[in-house]
């Protein structure tokens, strides 16, 4: 072979602690190396040109660049060599920056290490094979999981772009958290008024197929060709008949059902339509409260329904859909404040969460928009907001900031003053985080125009005294203890991962962080991609975010899908397992262990049964290669021989 070696100075990043000239000089002695040089910034345009020129001039058929991490620039250089006519896989990198110059102190030892790493990379590239991606047809349907604002935005953008969208929402209606909000910050827009039309658009869009009250059962396949099994949970109401007239709700005798939409601050009926703007506007029965289910008799709704939509025998149904890409927009959940003993562990009626407060503020909420405290339905005059309940608290396992609480507290304090002009709001906070457009001004307004009193400090205890709630905390600015008597306490509970997020991640084969939020491909540069091709993220499932950020990510994910689907054929990564049929003994171990079910048995023309890799399903993990006893199945680019060559090259020195 004719291998070229390029040692990068990375300015002084590498050259400062590695003798790059010496490395380049040593590399000249390695077998197959016909060209070796060093360069100030190999990744720069002139640097890349130098590689390309050398490929042409020296007729190189393999290239090694010793510079930064391949996780940083492998793709950059692969494109570089490809442009010069070399197969992009005839390239290897030696990481002499992150793994050498930045971590080693002794220049001599660093240089020795760099030489070894280059020798190993040269030994490996000698065994590289040109690989060629295969192309396959793409199913241009997209699955959006989650019908909150992020998922809706993604669905609409995809649908408007001409894609067929399957939107799956686990609740009976789309809308998500935003549908529950009264107003949005910092413009004090009516939340449902701006969301409602979007919901209608989703419900009516000819390209969107809606599965609400449904969950993902199983996902198989790969980018361009996923098969999704969806569990349609039994609603006990035939939605093809239900008109959403609401008659059943009026007559339902079981009126103490838990109302998730109103966060439990008021009950609803066992058969119900979750809220007036629900899409689809269909009724469903909660069998936990329905007398027909509990006592075996009632049947009022069935009798009264004008279209005979009630079906007490209904069962869950599994439907299968085929899609080419998946947008995950499963949102978030809220921290359960009842875990905090100091705040009453949920036993005080007048200590509520901020989302419950949203429902109290809302005109279509249970109090018709009058702020009445739950214990005695009186209008509270002193309201205390406690920030960071289940945020930025290591002891509770939530060390991160929930992003949007500071803002909604300001909003709720402002709205409180609007609703009850003679009220006084207090906010206990740690820091004010208001980095968005118009946000800081908004918080200022709350303080300056609406007289909200901000106290910097944590609340140590909340307890009842008479009909008041006593909030005891510290004021760290004044350095004193504070005790306030409040009529109502609103806890700004933080955002946590949605329940079931981890299980869904397993089905999607995407990764999640220790808190259950999904991990994007790159925190800066690939924020909506995941490491599973064809799966994208939108909204708070990736981490707490506010509405504009969620909407932005929904659109971003949609644009990723649209660009993915702009081609009719997709290319598969050729760095996958390959079976040497002569060596395969049909022991089935690879089939058994492959995490993707990417290996099947096939019969060769000679009649031999051998393993065979489904190229588009294989993700290139190499588990099969480590499993295969005769070494018949080899992961391309990471074959046994290549890794052995690296080992050998190191020990030769």
């Amino acid at each position: 072979m004719r291998i070229g070696v390029f040692i990068c100075h990375c300015g002084s990043n590498i050259a400062g602690t590695v003798d790059v000239k010496k490395v380049a000089e040593e590399a000249k002695r390695f077998p197959h190396v016909v060209y070796s040089t060093d360069y100030m910034y190999t990744c720069s345009e002139p640097g890349q040109l130098e590689i390309q020129e050398a490929i042409k001039k020296e007729k190189l058929d393999g290239v090694v660049v010793a510079s930064c991490s391949p996780r940083m620039h492998e793709n950059t250089f692969r494109r570089t060599v490809e442009k010069a006519g070399l197969n992009r896989y005839m390239f290897e990198m030696a990481n002499i920056r992150e793994h050498v110059s930045w971590v080693g102190v002794d220049k001599e030892a660093n240089t020795k290490k760099a030489i070894d790493l280059v020798r190993m990379a040269v030994a490996k590239v000698t065994l590289n094979q040109p690989l060629f991606p295969k192309s396959f047809k793409v199913n241009k349907n997209v699955l959006v999981i989650g019908g909150g604002v992020a998922g809706m935005q993604a669905a609409l953008d995809c649908a408007d772009g001409g894609l067929k969208v399957i939107l799956v929402e686990k609740n009976p209606s789309i809308g998500g958290k935003m549908a529950k909000l009264d107003k949005t910050f910092p413009t004090i827009d009516c939340s449902i008024c701006i969301l409602g039309p979007k919901m209608v658009d989703v419900g009516q869009h000819e390209n969107i197929k809606l599965y609400t009250y449904s969950e993902i059962e199983e996902i198989s396949g790969y980018v361009g060709n996923y098969e999704v099994k969806i569990r349609k949970k039994a609603t006990y109401v035939d939605w093809t008949k239900c008109t959403g007239c609401g008659l059943c709700m009026e007559k339902c005798p079981s009126k103490k059902a838990f109302d998730p939409f109103n966060e439990g601050i008021a009950p609803t009926t066992a058969i119900n339509i979750p809220f007036p703007q629900a899409i689809p506007k269909k009724a469903k029965i909660d069998p936990n409260y329905c007398r027909q289910f509990i006592k075996g008799k009632c049947g009022v709704c069935a009798k009264i329904c004008p279209v005979q939509a009630i079906d007490y025998e209904m069962q869950d149904e599994i439907v299968t859909e085929k899609v080419g890409a998946i947008i995950v927009a499963t949102g978030y959940s809220l921290f359960d404040h009842t875990k905090i003993k100091e705040y009453g562990a949920g036993k005080y009626l007048d200590v509520i969460t901020s989302i419950q407060y949203e429902r109290l503020l809302n005109a279509s909420g249970p109090t018709s928009g009058h702020i009445l405290r739950p214990s005695d339905n009186k209008e509270p005059k002193t309201i205390v907001f406690v920030a960071c309940v289940g945020s930025r608290d290591k002891s509770l396992g939530v060390p991160y900031c929930s992003n949007f609480c500071c803002m909604y507290i300001a909003k709720q304090a402002i709205l409180t003053k609007d609703h009850i002009p003679d009220s006084q709001s207090y906010v206990f906070y740690m820091d004010i985080r208001a980095p968005g457009k118009g946000y800081e001004e908004f918080v200022r307004r709350a303080q300056e125009e609406y007289g909200v009193k901000y106290i910097r400090g944590r609340v140590s205890r909340i307890f009842k005294r008479g009909d008041k709630m006593v909030v005891r905390g510290s004021d760290t600015l004044l350095g004193t203890q504070v005790e306030l008597e409040a009529d109502l306490v609103v806890l700004a509970t933080g955002a946590i991962a949605e329940e079931g997020a981890r299980e869904l991640a397993e089905k999607l084969r995407i990764s999640y962080d220790p808190y259950g939020f999904y991990i994007e491909s790159h925190p800066k540069l690939r924020p909506v991609e995941t490491n599973t091709a064809g799966v994208f993220l939108a909204g708070a499932c990736q981490g707490p975010k506010d509405i504009p950020a969620s909407v932005g990510q929904g659109s971003a994910a949609a644009s990723k899908v649209l660009s993915l689907f702009s081609k009719d054929l997709l290319e598969s990564d050729p760095q996958i397992a390959h079976v040497n049929e002569m060596l395969c003994v049909d022991c089935k171990k690879c089939i058994q262990t492959c995490p993707y079910g990417a290996i099947e048995e096939k019969k060769t023309p000679m009649g031999k049964i051998v393993a065979s890799v489904i190229e588009t399903v294989c993700q290139g993990c190499g588990l099969c290669t480590a499993t295969c006893p005769p070494g018949a199945i080899q992961l391309q680019q990471f074959t046994d021989n290549q890794l052995l060559a690296e080992v050998k090259a190191f020990f030769h020195a």
């Binding site: 004719r2 190396v33 070796s36 020798r119 030769h652």
Partner: protein, 352 residues
């Protein structure tokens, strides 16, 4: 060949004899390790074991299981990295060697090797060098085992062919006779007692040993019989229990097949020669992936055919088997080559 001269070593002086042998040369002796006996280089503290035939043959003494044929190194022209030369250094290792305690069958095995490796047209210099510097001191088999069949292949328990010195155990010690000039030269160095007085007794011992053994089969017409059965299913059925391992070939004193491979590391490497066995799939595996001997039936057919047909047909009727019976005794599946030959002749007869 020289006129036979004879010496005598009293029983209690044999240890000194062994030690003296090792003084100027590399000496191999059979040594018992666990339940097996094999030839290893003699060092102080090693106790030779002569009582029974060694488990493995002595072929490793001049035909090591692995030998480096040469080393090579790619040298680049520092001015033009595309120009390089290959530097080769020969590695013939041939120290003066004595092998003590071979049996007539072991010594005779080397005659088969000689045919191949000392072919005058293109001798194998590695083998040739070692062979010339080696000397075999064989012991008469006074107690041949039931698995021995050297007589059937034209030898006998006291056969001196292939040996340089023959030692025969007599009542009070060892009767030593030179077979070759090399042997005589060595013995002259060692100051041994004259052995004439024991020659009669030794002859008697040899005769008795010869009589102890029968010949289980006749090799007449065997070569033709093998060819006759070449394309029949005789082999598959007869050798169904063969495990296709290399025990028989690697213990065999006459199996000389080898493989040559290169092992490189960085710019350096060596070309090595290693034992190979016709019982292995890889033995005749072709580069294309095709294998003319895909199953053990064809491979075993080759083993028998080579020993009793192709080799004798090519080399003046010399059978490439010395009848030592090691392949029978150590076979994990109790394959018995005598029975194979008897069955083969019967099958050939039937098919006639």
């Amino acid at each position: 060949m020289v006129m036979s001269m004879s010496w005598f070593i009293p029983e209690n002086e044999f240890d000194i004899f062994v030690k003296n042998l090792s003084k100027k040369r590399r000496l191999f002796v059979p040594v018992k390790e666990n339940s097996i006996v094999r030839f290893v280089e003699f060092k102080d503290g090693i106790k030779p074991y002569f009582e029974k035939q060694a488990t493995s043959s002595a072929k490793n003494t001049i035909f090591p299981q692995t030998e480096t044929l040469f080393r090579f190194e790619y040298k680049k022209d520092p001015k033009d990295l595309k120009k390089f030369s290959v530097e080769i250094s020969e590695t013939i290792e041939a120290p003066e060697t004595v092998v003590l305690g071979t049996r007539p069958c072991d010594a005779r095995g080397f005659l088969v090797f000689d045919k191949v490796f000392l072919n005058p047209k293109h001798p194998d210099i590695y083998y040739q060098n070692r062979r010339e510097k080696s000397l075999f001191i064989t012991m008469t088999c006074t107690d041949p085992e039931p698995t021995c069949f050297c007589k059937a292949v034209g030898s006998s328990p006291a056969d001196s062919l292939g040996s340089d010195i023959l030692i025969t155990k007599v009542k009070d010690g060892f009767f030593v006779e030179t077979i070759t000039e090399k042997g005589e030269k060595l013995l002259n160095e060692l100051n041994l007692k004259d052995g004439d007085a024991y020659s009669k007794e030794a002859e008697k011992v040899k005769d008795e040993a010869n009589e102890k053994l029968e010949s289980p089969f006749d090799t007449k017409g065997l070569s033709a019989d093998i060819l006759k059965l070449f394309n029949t299913n005789f082999w598959e059925k007869e050798l169904a229990h063969c495990l296709s391992c290399g025990v028989c070939t690697y213990l065999c004193p006459t199996c000389y097949c080898f493989n040559i491979t290169d092992e490189t590391s960085d710019s350096e490497g060596e070309r090595i020669r290693t034992w190979d066995a016709c019982m292995f799939f890889h033995f005749t595996l072709e580069g294309s992936g095709h294998n003319p001997r895909p199953t053990k039936a064809e491979r075993f057919r080759n083993r028998v055919g080579h020993k009793f047909s192709y080799f004798p047909d090519r080399y003046d009727g010399m059978i490439a088997c010395c009848g030592c019976g090691r392949c029978i005794k150590s076979c994990p599946a109790s394959v018995d080559i005598r029975k194979v030959i008897i069955d083969l002749k019967e099958a050939a007869n039937e098919s006639a």
